[in-house]
Symmetry: C2
Subunit: 450 residues, 2 copies
């Protein structure tokens, strides 16, 4: 591996140039901005590295870029899941540099997508390049699936995966994100919570009326508030019948992992100005809740007059946006059905439910040998024992790979706690990036020997 | 009175011209648009009629125009309360004519304020003019108080009234609004509900966070929904301790009035697309609730993400605008105190209460002789028995006159159910306007003989 590492160090500048080039290509899926151009650029970068690359299209949605390189020695296959789309860069006024400038400063590459997920994608492509340029070939089959809708909930990925089951088959996969903490410890994630996003809409009279009519005319805002108040109580208990069915407490193995996670509770509270967390949770119990507790969150509320001062209006419509974060074995479709039933039973069958995205919860067992392999490689490269999250509090389409295609999936990457993922001044430390390239190269090597 | 009526008919065109002139002067108090100019125009019109007129100013707010003319024969005084400010004309695209054009068409004067309250104001001034021009003088003392902030809750009127108690003293007052129904029956109003407008604000973390943090971070939207749900139950019962203290059921006299009110229930339901009113109320019970039931109405809700689709945000703040309509003897200040106490007791002392306007409920008894006088005059002029509302479902600063100054107050005017008050295409039927001038002239005459 020394030769591979040397190649990586010698070519660091050109690797950074390629990352900057990719960051400079806007690809905001929420706005449909630059998606085709970015997919083509990813394809071009794959070809340049020496992968066979092509663009896959579904009936709708942004293209998926597929790339592969076969090993002559083995049928063993490692798949990388990444995405080329990014979050909207707003609020623009809070950026030090243009979010699509790829500005290099203070040993960092700045820009929307610098870490999530262009940095991770390029670190993986460059690891393959380094391996192929030094060893002449890859020691295992490599596949890349790079989608363009992760930041909007991957609404069109499932049919593509179902259609290309054989193309996407692998023995294991590395998921898109991860990184080290401030102490240089690599953090690995073995799963994701699921999510169900909905909008509840109350509609009453045909038009807004003067609030003097309140004794007679139904008020959409009240209908909505009453309906919402039946969903969750003040102690955060979700009141939908059967909501917690099948939810399992963390296993002993998972509790073991939780105990090794350095949870920066004090810092988080200070950042958010909180005296305490919900239900007074703290330490291990707080972390356990964060990862293993399903939730029901109001994301937004809107009804009637919301301007300055007062207006004596009785609103005809009201809406709430909600997301439910789900843990294994909750299914978004079943939760949606239970929510509908709940509203009916509670006397709110007048409230319309609009479904937005959903993903299923998913995890790879702590005991899966692939987890051990990734952790060992990470420890070797980073010089610190890996921190293992049996689940992440976030969500994504991992279940389509783990559950449909059936292989173990672990998430690891080149991020840093100060990378400002999804926030203004997103950046990737060049040091973390280069270390990340080495980690991926080492992982390929270890995977081949495994 | 025949000579007065003849003068009115002969001068109808010039009366309409004056009304058009006043309508053409914008005076939107919500936007502070044209207020000084409109006050000056009202003063000028008073002077032209032969009143002593002057502009009164408080420490803040739009000026009040005061006008008076003394009778040589009596100390008896009739006061008129009107306002020269109007509602914002929006939505502009729904107007047939420019809202400040004063366009005359189809036997109507169109424009914002045509009926509320410029039409009523001009009808009263012109009645004085007709009386003075024909009889040489008025048979009773006449006073006008014309404010410029009624449409924004009269926030600055109380100190002006307290300061000018003697100037505003009278034996009775005619309030700003009223009119006939589609069958030509004059409708009189003896009181108003009070109102308390507030905004509830929930604030939790210092910034919005990713909804993945929901197991730990308090959510302002949930805090607000839970707090609101403690205020009123699904059966419209307000749950604030002591909210209904002092509320009295309508008296036998008032019930007698209610039974004579032609309540157009079917038309209202059809207009709003409702199968039924709240709590299945109908007929007499619905009307009784409309006038005598205090209410708690959500006017607006806002929190977090309210755009298209979904966003996984956990909002740091949330707000609800509410109004409470109050009936005699509820006091806005006491209700505010009870609301505050309620939130504390229910565990929501973190929720901030911002107070906007408030007015007290007020009524003149059905048995007051002035009510009988106005009803008798109305019957004589309109040829139909007056419909008497012991209370109106709306609100306004009537209590400052009735309760502070102590005289009986009745509301009657020249409006029509199709006048579109507060709505696009507001208009005043010229026929109603001229009849309204005659009604006021007759009322002055009857008041003098009383």
């Amino acid at each position: 591996m020394d030769e591979v590492y040397r190649y990586i160090d010698e070519h660091a500048d050109s690797f950074i140039e390629d990352l900057v080039r990719l960051v400079r290509q806007p690809s905001v899926s929420a706005k449909g901005e630059g998606m085709e151009d970015c997919a083509k650029l990813v394809e071009e970068m794959m070809l340049k590295v020496g992968l066979n690359a092509r663009i896959l299209r579904g009936e709708r949605g942004n293209p998926v870029v597929y790339g592969e390189v076969k090993s002559e020695k083995t049928t063993k296959t490692l798949l990388f899941y990444n995405h080329y789309d990014v979050q909207p860069p707003e609020p623009l006024e809070e950026w030090k540099y243009d979010p699509f400038s790829g500005k290099v400063a203070d040993g960092k590459v700045y820009g929307r997508g610098a870490v999530d997920n262009k940095g991770n994608l390029v670190s993986r492509l460059k690891a393959i390049q380094a391996y192929m340029e030094t060893a002449g070939s890859v020691p295992v089959n490599i596949k890349f699936v790079v989608e363009g809708e992760e930041e909007i909930g991957s609404p069109n990925l499932e049919p593509i995966i179902k259609k290309h089951r054989r193309l996407f088959s692998a023995d294991a996969a590395l998921w898109e994100f991860g990184g080290t903490d401030r102490h240089g410890r690599p953090h690995l994630y073995l799963g994701l919570k699921g999510v169900l996003s909905v909008e509840l809409r109350a509609k009453c009279a045909l038009k807004d009326v003067h609030s003097a009519n309140a004794p007679l005319i139904p008020n959409a805002a009240w209908r909505l508030v009453w309906a919402l108040s039946t969903l969750k109580d003040k102690n955060e208990k979700i009141l939908i019948e059967g909501f917690y069915d099948g939810v399992q407490p963390p296993s002993d193995e998972e509790i073991g992992c939780l105990k090794n996670i350095p949870f920066e509770e004090k810092e988080l509270k200070e950042e958010l100005g909180l005296k305490q967390f919900l239900r007074g949770l703290s330490g291990f119990e707080a972390l356990k809740a964060l990862l293993f507790q399903p939730t029901c969150t109001i994301n937004g509320l809107l009804s009637g007059y919301t301007g300055k001062g007062s207006k004596t209006v009785l609103p005809r419509e009201a809406m709430a946006k909600l997301d439910f974060r789900l843990v294994p074995n909750q299914k978004p479709n079943e939760i949606l059905r239970k929510l509908k039933r709940h509203l009916e039973v509670q006397g709110f069958s007048d409230i319309e439910i609009v479904q937005y995205g959903s993903t299923e919860p998913v995890k790879t067992p702590v005991s899966d040998p692939f987890v051990g392999l990734v952790a060992k490689t990470a420890e070797k490269v980073y010089g610190n024992k890996a921190v293992i999250y049996p689940l992440s509090a976030g969500s994504g389409p991992m279940h389509l790979f783990r559950n449909l295609l059936g292989f173990p999936v672990v998430s690891a990457g080149c991020g840093h706690p100060e990378s400002n993922t999804h926030a203004p001044n997103e950046n990737l430390r060049i040091e973390s990036f280069i270390k990340g390239v080495k980690f991926i190269a080492a992982l390929i090597d270890d995977f081949a020997k495994w």
